[in-house]
Point group: C2
C-alpha cells in the first residue's frame, strides 16, 4: 500500500503511509530506511505475512512499540546463547 | 557477512552476527525480523551503502541506538508535514 519501489531506491519508496494499527502477528519483517539524499523522509516498510508491503507512519506510537518489542524479545531470548 | 538467504525465508537468515560498530553513514537500511516458527532468533540485517548485507547483533547497544536514532529523526522531521 502506497509503495513505489524503484530498482535501486534512489528516491523515496513510500508515496504515503499507513497509520492504522497492524497486529504484530501479521508482520513478517520491518525495514527502516534513514532519510538521506535519496529521500527526505525516514521510511518504514513492513512486509506482511501474506507478502504485501506496507509503508508505516514512522511517528505513529504503535510503530515504535512494535519495533521496541522486537528488540526487547531479542534481549529476552538472550540471543547471545546462539 | 554471515548471511544465508533462502528464497522465502523459511529458516534463520543469519548464521552469525556482527557486533562491531558500523557507522550509520554506511548504512542504507536496517531490516528487523521477529522470531517465529521459521527461526528462534530475532534477526537484524543491515544493508550497507555498498550493497553488502550484514547481520547485526540485536542485543548490541549500538544497534538499538542506531534504530532509535532513525525513529527520532522521523520525529524531528515532523514526518506528518509530508
Amino acid at each position: 500500500m502506497s509503495l513505489a519501489r524503484m530498482g535501486n531506491e534512489l528516491r523515496c519508496q513510500c508515496i504515503g503511509t499507513h497509520s492504522k494499527f497492524i497486529p504484530p502477528r501479521n508482520i513478517r519483517d520491518v525495514k527502516l530506511t534513514p532519510s538521506g539524499p535519496h529521500c527526505q523522509n525516514v521510511e518504514i516498510i513492513a512486509t506482511l505475512k501474506d507478502g504485501r508491503e506496507v509503508c508505516l507512519e514512522p511517528t505513529a506510537p504503535w510503530v515504535k512499540i512494535i519495533i521496541k518489542a522486537i528488540l526487547d524479545k531479542a534481549e529476552a531470548n538472550g540471543e547471545a546463547k546462539r
